[in-house]
Amino acid sequence: MKTFLVLTRKELSAALLSPIAYTVAAVFLLVLGYTFTLTLFATKVANLQYIFHQIYVLSILLVPVLTMRAFAEERRNDTLELLLTAPVAEVWIVLSKFVAMLAVMLAIYALSSAYALVLAWVGEPDWGPILMGYATLALLACLLVAVGVLASSLTENQVIAAALSMGLFLMLWFADSVAPMLPGALEPLALNLSLIGHFKPLVTGSVFLSDVMYFISATLVALWLASRRLADR
């Protein structure tokens, strides 16, 4: 556990000293601010449902940029050799990267809560759906960051890592669209893998255990695979 904290601190300082996290946050908030302003003026409704869907799309586009360095850079700089020859279990190395990247994503999401405060200033928003929306976004961030870390563990090239994770995100996103074209047993499988199919009910306030479990289990599977990938050498 102590080693995990040491590693997480290192990951956080690396993330905060790199311009990538700030660039991702700036692009994220700029696009979101633009959308929020337009939506508020157009609908005059005090809720963030549309914003949550925007965050979903932006996260799919921006998380790969954040996670691409996780292992790819360690491999490229040979520092992975230092980590893997220290008395540290691979799972702690993976978890520290996951927790650090997740913290950065959650911090970026937290900055978007400024829009909720604007709504509270100009209207009377229903706080239940807003809190549920942020809880769903936290689950989404867990899944995306875990898959991003897994993709980064597979290559030393950051661009390939980013392309791979974005490809995986898009495949998960569109899984329900291709489901009707698939034969027999594969159709329900594709439907169950659908990212948007599990995100939408949760973010709109319909809480099903299956949706929550989807995010948790996909996160754990991705982290386990990343850990196996490191151990397999």
């Binding site: 080693t3 700089n77 980590l83 020859t85 540290v88 050498r233």
Partner: protein, 237 residues
């Protein structure tokens, strides 16, 4: 009757294949505590593979590797705790300062929190890095990078120090400094290093082990005045 002393390093029948390509074949070696052993061989002879197997970075296809009596495969945490490893490329985190990097590596290698500063000061003194502790890592010269890399390998006072091509990329003055540095570690640490510079080997190591095409071709004790080392090596090659 007493049991035989535990060797600092014991390798038995170690093989490593990358797909169909053998990198190391049926390699066995013992290293006594306090000894400086140098792996000598041309590029691609299997030196780095052997070092990576011993450090735990790679897994062997066959064979047993032990460090201070701990099996590198079955007791990886205990074995790694006994090893200090400085890879050839002298890798380090570019966003850190030297002191910060050494403290990070000390914590990673389980040095108790209250002893980290002391351990960093000790290795900084040993490697003449005290005035560089606040230097950002990207500003270091190649020679200083090698020193920092060896310092991180020593920060937890390992039983076995593994140095992969420590003189690589250094200028003649830095090579002499590196040689003196490694000699100064003799007795306190067991050192396994690799090199392909014949003249350096005689001046640095107690024993030389020649690897060619992943196989042990010969071994002998050496001393700084060795005159026939070159002939011996050529006869093996």
């Amino acid at each position: 009757m007493t049991s035989p002393p535990i060797q600092a390093v014991s390798l038995r029948g170690v093989s490593k294949r990358y797909g169909p390509t053998p990198a190391l074949a049926d390699f066995s070696l013992d290293i006594a505590a306090g000894e400086i052993v140098c792996l000598l061989g041309p590029n691609g002879s299997g030196k780095t593979t052997l070092i990576r197997l011993l450090s735990g970075f790679l897994s062997p296809t066959a064979g047993v590797l032990q460090v201070a009596g701990f099996d590198v495969q079955r007791q990886p945490m205990q074995a790694r705790q006994c090893i200090g490893y400085a890879p050839e490329s002298a890798p380090m985190y570019r966003h850190m300062r030297v002191g910060e990097f050494l403290a990070f590596m000390a914590r990673l290698r389980q040095v108790p929190a209250q002893q980290v500063d002391e351990a960093v000061a000790r290795v900084a003194g040993q490697l003449a890095l005290t005035d560089k502790l606040n230097a950002p890592i990207p500003t270091l010269s190649r020679g200083y990078r090698q020193r920092v890399c060896i310092a991180q390998a020593l920060v937890h006072e390992p039983k076995l120090l593994i140095l992969d091509e420590p003189s690589n990329g250094l200028d003649p003055r830095q090579i002499i400094e590196m040689r003196n540095l490694i000699r100064s570690l003799a007795g306190r640490y067991t050192v396994l290093m690799s090199s392909h510079i014949l003249s350096e080997v005689a001046r640095t190591a107690d024993r030389v082990v020649v690897l060619l095409n992943g196989r042990l071709k010969g071994e002998r004790r050496v001393h700084p005045d060795d005159t026939d080392l070159e002939d011996w090596f050529l006869s093996l090659a």
